[in-house]
Subunit: 706 residues, 2 copies
């Protein structure tokens, strides 16, 4: 077989055809063609994304001229494996074929499709038709013997002596005029022998698709719950600068809310030159801590820790304690330097020199950011610079960090990230990368394509039902869903939206429910979120007043009105419901009031169905009629045969009554049919998270989905 | 420049990036990326199609990290040209860029996009912002001098001494502290010098897309009107076998109906062995002429002419006479042989031998077609076979034939056609190929992609408004519209649809109007069509009774009820209205009666607008309200600035009154607003073909679009 299908070539046999009529193609007997292989990102330029344990469904159009039977194979292997796995594809009709494979190993996988016209199978089928028509079959059986003979010859070439012997014997038995026709016809249909022959396809007839790549990451790349916190505000008294030790004390607080990622803004020494004061005042007073993103000082740079936070020792202990609570630490990597960064002294060639000899600070004319020196990625020493930047990730990976939130990746070359992420993954396949890019759509998609595991989104600014639906339908549709994994943040240290500024408690609850249920990954910046901070620095600004970016804050995390319990409930619901662990099963439902939005999520196996209905108006009670087509589960009574078995709601159950169990309030509504009435008052709860529990037709007892 | 952008490579610089983090990319300073280049068929595997004189609009996403200014160029050239033409692309917003070029030469063109971060342009823009903010600019001007200096250096490398001198002088003048700031600022904005600098982009920063191909054919490939006719039925008395001389007599009949392609079924000698009789009876009586598709006899094969039709001389004369009437002859090329074909004797190796030594006839089990021997494209002598088959086209090209209708191309290898069509086009760029494939959708699309100019479609079986709309919206949407040019046939010698069998005269008129207006190319099989033949051979069959495929027919072409005048009128309307010369401007309109269908076509320049409304029910009068959004033209009063200027109907004119002038009946309806009432009685005319003539608001006089 390996002789028949050399697996080292990445090119598609098909695409290799010469298109100028001058020269004949290499092989004219190649009749099968392969088109439209999926998943596929930008024609194979980038790897599609999946997570560990996923069943990867591959589809392709495989067809040939005429009406002969075809055989199509899916080939796949992990980059670390030498041999290809092969699995036959099954026809879905309309020349579309499918097969799937389970990815049980992290890292890069490759797959391709092979197809060819199967002469033996064509002959087998024709023989049945002729038999049914009562035609004379002697010559056809002899023809089959010739084909089996040829298969035997190919087996010999493939050094499969046993196969050759079996096929050879088959050929003789088909042609054996001595034995009764009935027997020979039976042999002609021998499934095992046909399958054996298929393992030795004629090389001259074998079409091969291009080789496509698949990046397999761990589940947290797909399903994660983030909490962002400034460690320096972890101390319990305003006077003190928080430390990693203080953070340890807060781990239970974070864990109890049900988060699994604790994300810390940069923990490195902070520059003194041009340091900013509270509320980003141009000049800092003595004792002002400065911005953690002004990285680098005499004490060190991106591989050092701000002395007041503690030692590397302390950091590793925090990491360990967090792990005990199923919390992973995520570090913030920002490729920029304060004027005091050691790089500036040791590698001036990495920065742009101005004509006056000074180093070019960050600018967005007319704005100037003298406290930040950007790297000059156009410098001739770019190779050394890249290697050093990669070594920053590698350093923290070696400390045990597995998740990185990358600051403004869209202001550094795409090629750097593609190379760097691949390099770090090669060292640590568990590494997860979140792109903090709030920029143009195509730039955000490009960053996701080239390797970032997750991306920030425009979610924070999508408040209406139409814009939410349009945006998330775009994100959940291939190919976007094959490379872009949204991570939804209702707030960040840079983003306090108008909606949160003026919507009161309900606004925070609404945005939280949306983030936690629209996205398999979401995060909040706390304590400002759970404490509902809503004061902007200036009117029309999205900056927090007294932002932690420039000063230390002391939070009363025990405030009775805190949303912490609501957050904990939401995250428990997320954990308990597989439907919320992926964005695949997201589907929106019509509702006749634009102030309301309705959508459901289904687990891949279809057993878990959750319906969300959210009142987007934080000020008024709203009500409407929701249509549940597709959201209604099938009961045991409904035959699996029914199309609705796939959960696509052919309305089989529409007539029946069922329970809509609100996992937020605990209330259970008895609903009937596809259209049902909902009313949501933001003063009490602005949202339903409903598990649909079907009721058996017999009025006597209930049967709940679990 | 050529040094900066070697044009021999077809690979995209972008796609060349290594994806394993092991090795650094060749060039890390390449920041711009190019994505989603259009037109593009299967990622560039196939050429997109255009026709001579077209303005080809190319678009691409071109962007980079950060916010620097970008420059994007479109490069294009005919395969026969050595040097690339370059034209700057303009930004459409959202990182989408566009430029266009006119294809004034037949054959294969290539195009690609180049893009890079334009440091000088970035600097120019920033300078303006800083100036507006009243910042000190000395250092920035010096920086600009450095950038101009670098551009001068690149010009030198590109052996452009004059450019270098100009840029050098520019650099000095920017840095010249002696001259007043005002002056230096003015120089910084010098458009000509910036443009000059852009012609010498930094090679290390130049991103290059893959090379894409475009096949440019003559207008008839896009816009053609076909009439199919059996020459052997051209005689005026039943007794005689028609000849090319008889055909000459019929040319005016065909030309007067307004056709520009006269298509003849195979004109070659017909086999005697296994010849079929009338109505496909298995055995022919003496004198039965047999099927023209049973090609080959003692007199010759695919390069010979059936003696009773005449000589090669006669054929060439027919060709010339037809040309005088602006009629082109299309030949039917069917790659199959009768048992009497010379190939069978001379090249038995091209046919499949059965175990009993006989040659395998065509089969579709349990059906047998003993009168047809298919070629064995799997034979080891496939190269010789291919070259001979190509020589058949070349032979007829040398006789002056420029249009070929290819019989059942879907039962021959795709690779054969891709090679053969390219080869014939190389010899004769005017050659047009129509694929007679009625098979699975993806097979039909594949044939179009690999080079067929036009394709038969499912039109004959699409009778309802929804299925017609769905099908033609699929065909008119890229990428399908970039490679698939539909040719619509209401009937063929193989297809007498149920709709025509039982719909009466109105049915023929309906299908004719649909074909002639939905498709820029359409054809009919006559005289059966204009004489409304509707007798099927058997109930449920689509075969004509007494089909010309198996016998000679004598037609009374002067029958008073003939549709010839209606056909002539339709084809005149087609010729007079550029909107009907292409399928680009096709758009469907809502109408509240499913028995009616409404669609409009616009000429590319938007000046010609035609609205079709057809009653699909041949038995009853139907009426309804049609919505004309997008179909209403703008009057001189409406500024070109208005979005509706592009004809996308923002309803600017919706309030106004206008005329709907029926080009079929001559009737003029005074309509008002976007919704108007229509009623169509199949007993009189089942369709409107309306030119929308806008009325000026002043009630006094009319101003018509011409």
């Amino acid at each position: 077989m390996s002789a028949a299908a050399p697996t080292d070539s990445a090119g598609s046999t098909d695409a290799a055809h010469s298109m100028d009529g001058a020269s004949l193609p290499r092989e004219g007997r190649l009749r099968a063609v392969i088109e439209n292989l999926t998943p596929c990102v930008d024609g194979g330029r980038f790897a599609a994304k999946r997570t560990l344990g996923d069943e990867v469904a591959v589809q392709a159009d495989v067809f040939a001229d005429g009406h002969d039977a075809l055989c199509a194979l899916l080939l796949y292997r992990h980059e670390g494996e030498e041999h290809w796995q092969r699995t036959p594809m099954r026809s879905l009709g309309n020349d579309r074929w499918q097969a799937s494979f389970r990815v049980a190993r992290l890292g890069l996988w490759h797959y391709r499709v092979e197809g060819w016209v199967d002469a033996l199978e064509t002959w087998r089928i024709d023989l049945l038709k002729k038999q049914a028509a009562g035609q004379e079959l002697g010559i056809d059986l002899a023809r089959g013997a010739q084909l089996a003979e040829a298969a035997a010859a190919r087996a010999r070439i493939n050094h499969a002596a046993d196969d050759a012997a079996l096929l050879q014997h088959w050929a003789r038995s088909l042609d054996d005029a001595a034995s009764p026709l009935e027997e020979r016809l039976q042999r002609s249909q021998d499934a095992a022998l046909h399958a054996l022959a298929r393992t030795h396809p004629p090389p001259e007839a074998l079409a091969r698709s291009a080789l496509l790549a698949l990046m397999v990451e761990r589940e947290r790349a797909r399903y994660s719950t983030w909490y962002e916190m400034f460690p320096r505000s972890a101390a319990l008294s305003r006077e003190a600068h928080g430390s990693f030790a203080d953070c340890e004390q807060l781990l239970p607080y974070v864990a109890q809310m049900g988060f699994d990622v604790l994300y810390l803004p940069p923990i490195h020494p902070i520059g003194h030159a041009e340091r900013r004061g509270p509320n980003n005042r141009p000049v800092a007073a003595a004792g002002d801590p400065g911005s953690p993103w002004a990285i680098g000082a005499a004490e060190g740079g991106h591989k050092s820790i701000h002395p007041q936070l503690g030692s590397l020792e302390d950091f590793r202990r925090l990491l360990a304690r967090a792990a005990q609570l199923n919390l992973e630490l995520a570090l913030d990597i920002a490729f920029q330097c304060s004027p005091d960064h050691p790089y500036v002294r040791e590698h001036p060639e990495w920065f742009l020199k101005r004509p006056d000899g000074s180093i070019q600070y960050a600018e967005n004319p007319p704005k100037k950011y003298q406290d930040i020196y950007p790297f000059d990625f156009g410098c001739s020493d770019w190779r050394e610079l890249w290697l050093e930047l990669a070594s920053i990730f590698e350093f923290w990976v070696d400390q045990g960090v597995r998740i990185f939130r990358v600051d403004n990746p869209h202001t550094k070359p795409f090629a750097l990230w593609e190379w760097l992420i691949a390099r770090v993954r090669r060292r640590c396949p568990e590494a997860v990368f979140l792109a903090e890019a709030f920029t143009r759509p195509k730039v955000m998609y490009r960053l996701a394509k080239l390797g970032f595991s997750q991306s920030y989104t425009y979610f924070a600014w999508r408040n209406g039902s139409q814009e939410l639906r349009a945006y998330f339908e775009e994100l959940r549709t291939p190919p976007v869903s094959d490379f872009f994994r949204p991570n939804l943040w209702p707030n960040t240290p840079d983003i306090l939206t108008e909606y949160l500024q003026f919507g009161g408690r309900a606004a925070f609850m609404v945005r939280l429910v949306l983030a936690a249920t629209l996205g398999a990954s979401y995060g909040i910046y706390g304590p400002p979120f759970e404490l509902m901070e809503h004061q902007a620095r200036d009117p029309g600004s999205e900056e927090y007043l007294d932002s932690e970016k420039y000063q230390i804050r002391c939070w009363n995390r025990e405030r009775p009105d805190s949303l912490r319990d609501f957050i904990a409930l939401l995250n428990r619901i997320r954990r308990d419901n597989p439907a919320l662990h992926s964005d695949e099963g997201l589907r929106f439902h019509a509702i006749d009031n634009p102030a309301l939005i309705a959508y459901s999520k289904r687990s891949i196996d279809g057993t878990d169905r959750i319906l969300m209905i959210v009142n987007l108006d934080p000020h008024h009670a709203q009500s409407g009629w929701v249509s549940l087509e597709g959201a209604l589960p099938q009961g045991p009574s409904a035959g699996a045969g029914a199309g609705a078995g796939a959960g696509d709601g052919d309305g089989a159950d529409a007539a029946g009554a069922f329970q809509a169990h609100d996992l937020l309030s605990g209330a259970r509504f008895l609903w009937k049919g596809e259209r049902n009435y909902v009313a949501l008052d933001p003063a009490t709860s602005p949202a339903h998270i409903l598990r649909i529990r079907r009721r058996i037709r017999s009025e006597r007892d209930f049967d709940y989905y679990l």
